[in-house]
Amino acid sequence: MDESARAFSQRRPNSRRRPVGSHGPKLVRLLFAVCCLLPSALFAQDWVKTGTSLGVEKVRLAVPDFKPTTADPQNAALLKTFNDTLWNDLDVSGVVELVSKSFYPLQVPGQPTEVNSLAWNAPPPNAAMLAFGNLGVAAGRLTVQGWLYDVKNTQSPQVLGKQYGDAASDAAARVMAHKFADEIIFRLGGGITGIAETQVYFVSDRTGHKEIWAMDYDGSNQHQLTHSGSTSLSPRVSPDGSRVAFSALTKTDWEIMMYSIDLNRTVNFPHLGGTNLSPAWSGDGTKLAFSSSRGGEPQTQIYVSDVSGGNLHRLTTDKGPNVSPVWNRKTNAQIAFVSGRTGLPQIYTMEADGTNQQRMTDQGYAVSPNWAPNGQFLAFAWVRKYGPGEPGALDLYLMDIASKQFVQLTHDGGRNDSPSWSPDGRHIVFQSNRSGSLQIWTMLADGTKVQQLTFTGHNTQPNWSWK
C-alpha cells in the first residue's frame, strides 16, 4: 500500500484504465473515494455498492489447467491439488479477474510452443494474460513448469517462466501452486508480495478445549499447536513468525503465554498475576502490549513490556475495561485499543507512551480493532446502531484514521468479529456465526470474495501472519 499516502479524497472513483500492475492497491482507496464523495448516501444506509466493479478494470487472466507430462499414477491427484490451489489463490487475490474456463479454446497449452495467442486475446476469452504450464511425477519427484504470458503482446509475450521441483506430495504440489500464484500476483498487483504462503492462527474447540491452532491462509493444513487442556485465547503471531503470544487460563489466573513455532512447545513468559489478556506485537517484534488487572487493580489497563516480559509499564489509567490493544505496525508509534470508560466499549488510539488518547468511534458498541499494514486504516467490529429495538448485528467496519470516515464491510447478519489484516493489506480474516456456528472466514478488504475456511467445531479469533 505504498501509494496510499496520497489523500484518497482527491481521487476520483471514475478514473480508469490504470496500467497493468497498479490495480490491486487501489481497492481500498477506491472504497474510500466513494465514501468521501457520497457521505450522505453512506450514512443513510448500510448497503453501499462499493468496490472494484465501479471504476477499475482488473486484468483478465486465463488459467487453463496444467497438463500432465508423465504417466505416473500420482499425477492425477497432484495435478488436481495444484490446479485447484492455483485457481483459488488467484481468484481470491483481488488482483485479477479470472476468465471463466467455459470460454477457453479446446486446445490449451502446456508448453510455450503450444500457445496460440490469437485464441486467447480475442473474444470469447478476451484474456490479457495467460498462465499455463505442466506437471509431472518421475521417480517420486514432482516437477512443475509454469509461465505467464501477455497474450496481447505477440512479439514478446513472456512475463514469467518458473520451474519448481520437490519430492512428490500433496503438500509440495500445494506449495508450488502458492509460489507460482504469488509470482503472478507480484507482477500483476503492483509489486506487492502475495499472501499465498501465509498462515492464520486461531482458536478452535474441536478437541473439547479451546486451544491455539494454525492453518494455511486458504484453510488447508489445519493443525493444533497448544495442548493445555485449559482455555487458550487471543493468539498473536510475532512479526518474524517464530512465536505466538496468547492468553490462557492457568490454575489461578489468565496469563500471557508464549508458544515457540520453532520448538513446537510453550516457552517461558513471566506470570504477572491478575487477569492478563489480548497480547499484541509491535511491528518491529521488540514489544508486547496487553491488557492486565495485575496488582489487584479493579480495572483492566493497557501495559507494554519487552517480549521477555521485562520493562513492564502501564499506559492507561482511565476507567476500564481497557483491552485489545493493537500497534500501528507501520510506525510502531501508536496503539489502538478498546475502552469502556464512557459506557459501551469504543475504539481509541494513543501514542505508544500512552499520551494523546483519542476516541475514534462515536456511538454503539465497538471492539476488536486491527491496524492495517499501511498504517492508515483500522478494521474493527461494531454494533453501530446499538439500542432498544435495534437488532444489533455486530458487523465489520473499516475506518480511515485521519478522517474517521468509515465504511461497512459485512452486511449479512450474524455476529462478525475479530478482523485481522493480511500482510498485503488486501484481505481480512474474521470470525462469523453467519453459517449457524462460529467459523473463520476471509474476504477482500472491500467486503467481496467471502470464503469460509473452517467447518469443524467452533473457530474464533483468527490472526494473520505478518509475511
Binding site: K210, T231, L233, S234, S247, L249, T252, D253, W254, G274, T275, L277, S278, S291, S293, P298, Q299, T300, G320, P321, N322, V323, S324, V338, G340, G343, L344, P345, Y365, V367, S368, A381, G392, L394, D417, S418, T460, Q461
Partner: protein, 240 residues
C-alpha cells in the same frame, strides 16, 4: 591264720564283687525343682468401638522374660492401654527357669456406626455456603453492583462474618454479546466489584480470590434477555 584271712578276704571280695550293685551308696538328695512360671492376661473392657481404647493387664510369677506379641518385652506385671483398629488376640509368653507359660486375651473391636456422630465439618460448611450465599447480578455492560443486588451482598457479608473459616472465589461472568476479550475484561471488573463490596462489609480481602470467565462458561445458552441476565453475574464459589 594268715592264709585263712586271705581266703576269707578273697571270698568276701568275690562275694562282694558278685553283688556289687546292691552295695551302691545312696544318691545325694536332688536339688529342689524350680517353680514353674504362672501368667495371666486380661483386657478390660473386652469389646470396644474402633477409636476407643481398652486396658490390657497382666500378672506373672517366676518369670524372667515376659513378652506380648505385637507389644514386645514387658515388665513381669503391668498394664497398658491399647486401641487397635481391628479385633485382636493378645498373646503373652512368660519364660522362667521353671518353664514357660502362655496366656491370651481377646479384644473385640466393633466399627462405629457410620455418620451420625461426626460428618466431616467442611461438607457442612460447603452445604451452608451454597444454602446461604447469593450471587450478584449485573446490568448489561456494567460492572457496578446495582441497588437491587445490595441485599444479596449483605446476606453474603453476614454469612461470611459468621463463618470466618470459609474462603471463596468470585467468578465474573458475562453474556454472549460482544467480543471475547472485552467480556473477559468486563468479567474481571465484575468479580472485583463483588470482592470490593464484600471487603467494604468487613470481609478480609485475603479470603477472596477473583477470576474472570467472560463468556467462556455461561450458565444459560439461549439468546434472550432472561438467559443473558443469568450469565451477567458475580458467582461466589466455596473454596476449601
Amino acid at each position: 591264720m594268715k592264709w585263712f584271712l586271705l581266703i576269707i578276704a578273697l571270698s568276701a571280695l568275690l562275694t562282694l564283687g558278685a553283688c556289687g550293685k546292691k552295695a551302691t551308696p545312696p544318691p545325694p538328695p536332688p536339688p529342689p525343682a524350680p517353680p514353674a512360671p504362672t501368667a495371666s492376661l486380661a483386657v478390660s473392657p473386652n469389646s470396644i468401638q474402633a477409636g476407643q481404647s481398652a486396658s490390657l493387664t497382666w500378672q506373672t510369677t517366676n518369670a524372667t522374660d515376659v513378652s506380648i506379641d505385637g507389644i514386645g518385652a514387658v515388665q513381669p506385671n503391668g498394664s497398658q492401654s491399647v486401641s487397635p483398629t481391628d479385633s485382636t488376640t493378645y498373646h503373652l509368653v512368660a519364660k522362667g527357669t521353671g518353664g514357660s507359660q502362655e496366656a491370651t486375651a481377646r479384644l473385640t473391636v466393633t466399627q462405629p456406626p457410620p455418620p451420625p456422630p461426626a460428618p466431616a465439618p467442611t461438607v457442612a460448611d460447603q452445604d451452608l455456603f451454597s444454602q446461604n450465599i447469593k450471587d450478584v447480578y449485573f446490568d448489561y455492560d456494567k460492572s457496578d453492583v446495582r441497588a437491587d443486588q445490595q441485599s444479596s451482598v449483605q446476606a453474603d457479608v453476614a454469612f461470611l462474618n459468621q463463618h470466618a473459616n470459609i474462603n471463596l472465589t468470585v467468578e465474573g461472568h458475562c453474556d454472549e454479546r460482544g467480543s471475547t476479550e472485552y467480556n473477559l475484561a468486563l468479567g474481571d471488573q465484575r468479580a472485583s466489584a463483588v470482592k470490593n463490596a464484600l471487603t467494604a462489609g468487613g470481609i478480609s480481602a485475603g479470603r477472596i480470590k477473583t477470576i474472570s470467565y467472560g463468556k467462556e462458561k455461561p450458565f444459560c445458552t439461549e439468546s434472550n434477555e432472561a438467559c443473558w441476565q443469568q450469565n451477567r453475574r458475580g458467582h461466589l464459589v466455596y473454596q476449601k
